[in-house]
Structure formats: C-alpha cells, structure tokens
C-alpha cells in the first residue's frame, strides 16, 4: 500500500481553482517533494492531505485512511509542520514537547530523554528556554521536533527551510534524510529548486494547480537532453538570432541582463562564442557554464522562471 494516494484532487477558493485535478502516489520510505512558485497550490494540496481542508473533488488516502472521515485515527500516525504557525509565548521547549506528546495514544520514544530528540535539531541548549526567546530558525526547528514527538509514519513539512540561512538549511536536509533512513515517509513542499534537487527522491513540479512533471530530480533534468547552459553578459546591444546560428545551440534565452545559450556540446559552443565575440569586437563578461537544474526544467515546462 502506498503511503499517500491522491486521485483527481480539486480545491476551489471562491472563483479561483487552487488545485486542478491532480493525481499522484507517494511510496513508503521516500522523500517526496512538491516544487513550485508561490501560489502554485502546494500548501492547499498538503493541507487537504493532512485533513485541514476539505477537497471539492477527488479522493485522498493516507495510510489507507480518509483524512476527512478518519481524521483522528490518521492524526495519530502523521506528524505535521505547518507553514505559518506559532506557539504560546511563555511555554518552555521541554513543556511544549511533553504537551504535544500527551496528545497521542502511543508513548513517545523520547519521553525519558527529550535531549535525544532535540540534540540533532540543535536545540539541546534551549530545552529550558521560553518559546519567545528562540530565534526564528530555532522556532522552526522546534516545530519540526513537535511534528516528530510521537514517531509518526509520515511527516509533512510545508516550506521547512524558509527563513533559514544556507548553513542551517543544509543541516536540516541532512536531518530529514536521516529520518527517511529510519524508514519514515516524508512529504514536503518547497519553492527552492536546490532543496528539491538535493533532498527529494521524487519531485512533482506544480504550477497553477496542476502537476507538470513528476520524477526523480536527475531524470527530470535528463529529460532536457543533458544540456548545459552558457551564461554571459554582453556590453551593448545584440541580436539574439545571431547566437541562435552558432552550431549546436538549441535555444537562446534572455534572463534579465544575461543571455543563456543551451547546448549539449557546451565546450564547442563556448569556443565558437569567444571566437565570434572577438572578431566582432564585443566584450563578454561574467561567462560561466552551468549544468541544467530543476530551475531549467521549470523554465522549459512553463516558460517562466521559478523565482518570479
């Protein structure tokens, strides 16, 4: 049985269709990510699966249970970190952990040693601190600890690293992978391309309420034909068609002030580019070659950049 099975999910907000008939399965023991820009329908989807929102169409099964009709039974077995949430200002970290643990039938595996739960989250020193005295990142990590107190089978993380610095973000990825290695299933949403690429076993690319592609990050990138991207800035005006005529260039795009040439033979294109620039007396600046990323997959699928 799949951990999560979604069939034809639809959710409307007054006149807007936030989720437009999406279907997918999440296997047990995988890190499944939903990648998309803000407003793509990621949070609506995750909250329908958690049972917080009632879908307008389609069916959802989580561990074989219906989140709407068997919600209490389901919530015993899932852990949730919500995107925008807070806690009592004057509760201590340890008190919050004990409080949330008391909501579940099963005894928390950390009940005798909360340190062991919060240590990997870097909160060991903060166990007696009040919630209001924690930094933004520490609060975020406490909410993840609260999602783990009852050792759930599936963990839902909505934008888990938003607001974290790059170092904390990498530490968080490591932690999530360790949780997955203990046999847990993880369902997360993100609008960070790097996060989806480094962390997820499979990624669904979501835009305007629809899934555009769903596969492992490496296969999604390979679907672009193994192309690299040559980025550079050119002083003065230029004709995009001029670059399109360079052999092996499959596509030319203008990204802000930069130009991007896509090619599976990037070194030959680079050589040719420098030669032609030299003979025309152009000055090329900030030239670099990038491996294709999920960002490019998104760009190819939608014609828009993920960050917009």
């Amino acid at each position: 049985m799949n951990a999560i099975s979604v069939q034809g999910l639809i959710k409307d907000y007054s006149d807007l269709r936030a989720v437009d008939g999406i279907s997918f399965d999440v296997e047990r023991g995988e890190i499944f990510g939903m990648l998309g820009p803000n407003g793509a329908g990621k949070t609506t989807t995750i909250e329908c699966i958690e049972g917080l929102r009632r879908p307008d169409g389609g069916t959802i099964r989580v561990l074989g249970l219906d989140p709407q009709r068997q919600g209490y039974e389901l919530r015993e077995r899932i852990g949730v970190q919500l995107q925008a949430t807070s806690l009592y200002e004057r509760i201590r970290v340890r008190e919050a952990l004990k409080l949330f643990a008391s909501f579940y039938r099963t005894r928390s595996p950390w009940a005798d040693a909360w340190q062991r739960l919060v240590e990997p989250l870097g909160l060991a020193e903060k166990i007696n601190s009040y919630y209001y005295a924690l930094s933004g990142g520490q609060k975020q990590r406490l909410h993840i600890a609260l999602a783990l107190v009852h050792d759930p089978e599936i963990i839902f993380l909505d934008e888990l690293t938003t607001g974290l610095d790059p170092q904390a973000r990498r530490a968080m990825w490591q932690l999530i992978k360790e949780i997955r290695n203990r046999g847990k299933t993880i369902f997360l949403t993100t609008h960070y391309m790097e996060e989806a690429e480094h962390l997820c076993d499979r990624v669904a690319i979501l835009d305007r309420g629809r899934i555009l592609a769903l596969d492992s990050p490496s296969r999604l990138i390979a679907s672009l034909g193994g192309e690299n991207r040559i980025l550079f800035t050119l002083q003065g005006s230029c004709d995009v068609d001029f670059f399109r005529r360079i052999p092996h260039v499959s596509r030319v795009e203008r990204i802000d002030s930069q130009l991007a040439l896509y090619s599976s033979q990037s070194s030959q294109v680079l050589l040719e580019l420098i030669k032609r620039a030299d003979s025309n007396g152009w000055s090329l600046q900030d030239v670099h070659v990038q491996r294709a990323t999920l960002e490019d997959v998104f760009l190819t699928l939608t014609g828009r950049a993920l960050r917009e």
Partner: protein, 246 residues
C-alpha cells in the same frame, strides 16, 4: 483525556506566567478592597438597606474578578491563539477541539475561584464575613462565572484579531464594572443610569453574589438566576455557531 489533563496543567502554568493577570486577580483587587474600605469606612448606612457599605464590596469585587477573567483571559486568549495559529496546530493532532475549550474553562474557573477566596480571606480580619451559607455562595459564583465565561467565548469567537478584541474588551470591561454596582453602589447613580445598569449583565452577577453573601437566600434571587441562565444559553449558542478555529 491525558491530552486534556496535560493541556490544563500547561494552561495553568501559562496563566500564572502572565503577570498582568496574576497581578490583577491576586494583588490589585485585594488592594482596591483596602482602598474602598478606607473611603467608605464601616458605617451601616440607611441608603444601603442597613448593611455596611464595605460589606457590599466583597461580592462586587468577586464579580469584577469574574468579568475580567471572562473578558480578558477567555475572550482575549482564544482570539490570540487563533491569530497565532495555535488552534490550527492542535487540529492536526488527535486532540479533540472540545478539550481546548474545556481546559481553558477549567483553568480560568479555578483561578477566578482562587482570587475570590483570597478576597474573602483578606476581608475576614476586617469583620467582613460571609453571612450566607457557603454552598449558595458557591452556586452563585459558579452560575455567574459560567454565564460570563460563555460571554468571553462569544467575544473570542466574534472578532478577527487579538487587537480588535482587546479594544472591545476594554470598553466592555470598564463600562461593566462602573455600571453594574460592582465598583460603585448602584444607589449612588442617577435613576437614568440605574436603568442602564439593568441592561448590563454583570449587574445580575453582582446582585446574585450579594444575595448569597448576605444570606438572603437564592430563592429570593430568582430573577438574577433567570437572567444569567438565559444569558449563558444565548452566549453559548451564538459562540458555538460563530467559533472558528482559524
């Protein structure tokens, strides 16, 4: 059940960590009692039906305690929990929604009772003692508290943000304590204001507590009981309809 008990314990600690609430319930009200005693002294007065003025004060102050906890704590806390997404976070756990409301009710009832007992204890050395029987007093206190707590839930359900709720609460609270006879004896008000006082629900809590305190018997106080019973049912009904978790 374990979740409910634990939540009640945590809410008790959180109440005691809010120094404003603690100061008001356990320090300011007893201090005001001293102040009023100094102002009015202990003269039996014809105006108050041959009952010493300060004798009227203790039940009035207990009513203030009920109103303040109902309006500020229950009303304010629910609005702020909703705004901060705490209620929403609880909704993705197996905790029953009723447990959140019930634990709030239990904690605030207990704290209001404690503040009433402190007031009564402090009044004793001044010769202000309960003339009625303790059970009637407990009954009157409980009805007054429950009817006002349901009013607190109503306020907490109606307004979107804690900030709006706070403004509404302050307006309600001050008009109530001055126009209900809780702080100033109603007999001192003009007839017009006395008519307005009849529209203030807290007036009936003050009257009910005063009847129980002075040993007039709850039977004599049935109009107060009827008004508060109705008030409780109406507020509980509307707030159960209007309440939102997010």
């Amino acid at each position: 059940m374990r979740g409910f008990l634990h939540l009640t314990w945590v809410e008790t600690k959180l109440f005691l960590r809010e120094w404003q609430a603690v100061f008001f319930s356990f320090v300011l009200l007893p201090m005001l009692l001293f102040l009023f005693k100094a102002i009015f002294r202990h003269d039996p007065s014809v105006v108050f039906g041959n009952v010493a003025t300060v004798e009227q004060m203790v039940p009035g102050f207990i009513a203030i305690g009920i109103a303040s906890n109902a309006i500020y704590i229950i009303g304010g806390v629910l609005a702020s929990y909703r705004e901060r997404g705490i209620l929403r976070r609880f909704r993705v756990t197996p905790l029953r929604p009723g447990a959140v409301l019930a634990s709030q009710l239990v904690v605030v009832y207990g704290m209001t009772m404690l503040s009433a007992l402190i007031l009564m204890g402090i009044a004793r050395p001044f010769g202000l003692k309960l003339l009625g029987d303790p059970l009637s007093m407990l009954g009157a206190f409980t009805l007054g508290a429950l009817s006002f707590f349901s009013f607190g839930f109503l306020i907490g359900s109606l307004f979107k943000t804690a900030r709006i709720t706070y403004s509404v609460n302050t307006t309600l609270f001050f008009s109530m304590i001055f126009l209900s006879g809780a702080a100033i004896p109603l007999e001192l008000l003009t007839p017009f204001m006395q008519n307005i006082a009849r529209l203030i629900p807290l007036t009936y809590v003050v009257n009910l507590l005063r009847d129980a305190w002075l040993g007039r018997g709850l039977a004599a106080s049935w109009p107060n009981i009827a008004v508060l019973g109705t008030f409780f049912v109406v507020c509980a009904f509307i707030s159960s309809r209007a309440f939102r978790w997010e």
